[in-house]
Symmetry: C3
Subunit: 349 residues, 3 copies
């Protein structure tokens, strides 16, 4: 939805950049180097994209201060990525939905919905729940009982907060995610698995973002917590009573079991598994598809199953391909050593 | 929602425990050792939590018969976990939803809904389906055509039974799960993948529990079956025609392919993959993130990719870190053996 | 729902097969060899099922031209699987839902819905979206703004197209899948993760089929593409800007990261992970639970983490179990070589 075209000069001013080229050049959108055509502004984040930039059909480019593209109109900036974020917002403004409660929504009498919040078609808000100012519940969202959706938070279509879930301010939850389902807790009484009632909460702190079809279980007792500014990708599982710190990244299909402690600014790769009661320190990085048990120290980078320091894991992985050859070599060596021992007059072992 | 406070004496009687301490002590809730404060009852399941128990600010504790906490009010019981389950139910009664069909629900004329079942806001019940006594369909549940939801079963928000799905008694299905989508079956005709119509059913037996955003595919022909009392965690995939036995545990994000036979009281760890037509015997255990092909004998414990006996797998994993060093050692040995052979007057190999 | 019984002669004619047996034999349904009973037609796809066929209680069998089952009524055909597809469709016709917009559906004034499309109970169609002829939106489907659902495509219950999603003709999307959620793109500005607006689209080409609870993210800019005839299983994740070719198979719980290029007629196994910017050539096969980084050449078959040629991977996996023993062998060899060196009058190294 490019709403209207702008001039290169306007855009340079918008991002506080230095313009080299015609300020009146009309620009109708932002595109990648590959996809850009005439009328598009594209961008280069570093010298390694220089050749691709030269080949691009973009009408103009956002470039780092220290980069030159002779003969091409450019906007030079300190932080190309930040400038692109600004430009994307300018060209693709997110229209805020009309505030109010859609006539097809079902809102409990005891629920409190701020007058400038938007509860869209067929959304449900349960008893004793609160939807704060400028929050948006997209179609088919189900907010259970005793929940809070904080100021300006957006719940996309089909999100479910089952009950006793607290969502802070400026949170985004993508479609189909389920927060507050029962944790997976049973005791085997000798005959069958007896369910441990799951009576705790889920708390999502301010500015967190949660992907699509994610599941975050309520605590058995106490809280499952997603920290401030943490970003969770699609199809991730977070178990009961797990506490995730701030500004942490959890990539798609990772699974964090119950009662884990994940620090701040941690990066957990795609399809990683983290076992019950594991602890991952601040700033640690876990490579994709790894399996973490026990403790990962702050700042560590680990990989593999079981996860080990990444350099060690890479060496072990590289060595693994040589394993069949190694088996053969050792078999031959064994024969040669036995032969040497025989010739020196001893049977050896 | 602690509804009202109770006395320690009442609670001891409730769980049939032996009270040591003031029976009139008011208790307002149950909490973990860590989270408990004044007024809370907490619990110790074994001697390894003793130090934590001593440090806890809980007003009283449930403890095993043979454990003493001098100076602390305790309730001594045979099975602390079972007692906690009872106490959690007492403090957190699940209020049954009001029976009846919500005016916004859409129920086919040919569907049969028991008068004491609850079909909540915006739920859909398709033609020729049956919802039995005390069953609960939470908001936005879609029950397709020719389904049955058994007595007292609970389908949480957004659950989909696509059609021809039979759910037994006392089953719980958490939000967003999809039962009865087409199995993944195609034949390549040389030009394209031709879909094999999937015309079978899904059958979930009594007392099973299924997590959030799980997918269980209908059989091609015949039935996909989840056995009595089996517990399935979030984001699990169960393929077409697979039969899972009774009292089995399948942890989050595991994937069971089509036509598998999973026994009774099996435990399948998180993110495990089980290949088509595999068979896992009664009581077997599969470690997290393992890959199972073929056959796992009853009672076996396996781990790894491909899955092997767990002791063997752990030895192989431990050895793996030594692999780069081993490669170097063998290279050096090879040189030393060649030198020995040379000195003994032979070139050797 | 077997609607009515047919004669074996009718069925032989329907599949163009050669009948051996009584053409008047009544057949009431199709079943597997194992499940078939009297009145059922079953099938054998090759000689390895011969013994099972002899034991089957099926009244008649579809068999390959070159196979004989003396004394059993058979229909002999060139392609048994294709015949079974035809027969399943005959016995289990999918009744087309009644066209029109259900009174409980919420359709934006600016949306265009073909008169012979079916928008079922409680479905939502957003502004400026188009639903073409014979398309079906099952209950609770949410089609966002500026989407297109092509001719004859079927979106099962609870599917979400978030906005700017284009679905071609003859596409099937199973329940709970989310297309067009934001890609997972952030830049860390030193203090927090700043979101890169995701303003691109998702495009699903004709005849693709997408499983249940799948997530396919919109492109940052440009398009995320699922090619013509490609089949995606349940709980799969497709990242932003990834382009998947035609007639490709992606099995359950696989995760394809952002900006990948997946070719035509590729097969990606269950729980596979594909890293950002990876490329998989036409006709390549990736074994289940593998991890792909970088480039897989056309036609290659790879396995493992990191993925390597499948023969090599299998050898490495087989060798892995011998690793602990190998470590012991090498330790012993080292001692024996040192002893030999000592006896030859040198300390060695």
């Amino acid at each position: 939805m490019e709403v209207r075209s702008r001039t290169l000069g306007e855009l340079a001013a918008l991002v506080g950049g230095e313009l080299r080229g015609d300020p009146g050049l009309p620009i109708r959108g932002i595109a990648s180097l590959e996809d850009a055509g005439s009328g598009d502004l594209s961008f280069v984040t570093g010298p390694r994209h220089l050749r691709q930039a030269e080949a691009s059909r973009a009408s103009a480019l956002v470039v780092p201060r220290d980069l030159d593209l002779p003969g091409r109109p450019v906007i030079r900036v300190d932080q190309p990525y930040a400038a692109v974020v600004t430009l994307l917002h300018a060209f693709h403004p997110e229209p805020a939905p009309t505030p109010g409660i859609h006539p097809t929504a079902v809102v409990a009498a005891s629920a409190r919905v701020a007058p400038d919040a938007a509860v869209l078609a067929l959304a449900v808000v349960g008893a004793d729940s609160t939807v704060d100012s400028r929050a948006v519940l997209h179609p088919h969202v189900v907010v259970g009982e005793r929940c809070r959706v904080g100021e300006g938070s957006v719940l996309h279509a089909h999100v479910v907060l089952r009950g006793n879930v607290e969502v802070g301010r400026g949170v985004v939850i993508h479609a189909g995610s389920v927060l507050g389902a029962d944790g997976f807790g049973y005791v085997f009484d000798g005959a069958r698995h007896v369910k441990i009632p799951q009576v705790g909460r889920v708390v999502v702190e301010d500015d967190a973002e949660i992907g699509a079809n994610v599941t975050i279980d309520r605590a058995t007792m106490g809280d499952t917590v997603i920290g401030r500014g943490t970003k969770i990708d699609n199809l991730v599982q977070i178990g009961h009573n797990t506490v995730v710190g701030s500004d942490t990244i959890i990539v798609a299909q990772a699974g964090i079991s119950g009662s884990c402690r994940i620090g701040n600014r941690v990066v957990i790769g795609g399809q990683v598994g983290v076992a019950d009661h594991a602890a991952i320190g601040d700033g640690a990085q876990v490579g994709s598809q790894s399996g973490v048990h026990g403790h990962v120290p702050p700042g560590a980078a680990v990989l593999g199953y079981p996860a080990m320091p990444v350099a060690e894991a890479r060496r072990a992985m590289a060595a693994q391909a040589h394993l069949p050859e190694l088996l053969r070599t050792v078999r031959v060596l064994k024969r040669r050593v036995a032969e040497l021992e025989r010739r020196l007059g001893e049977g050896g072992r």
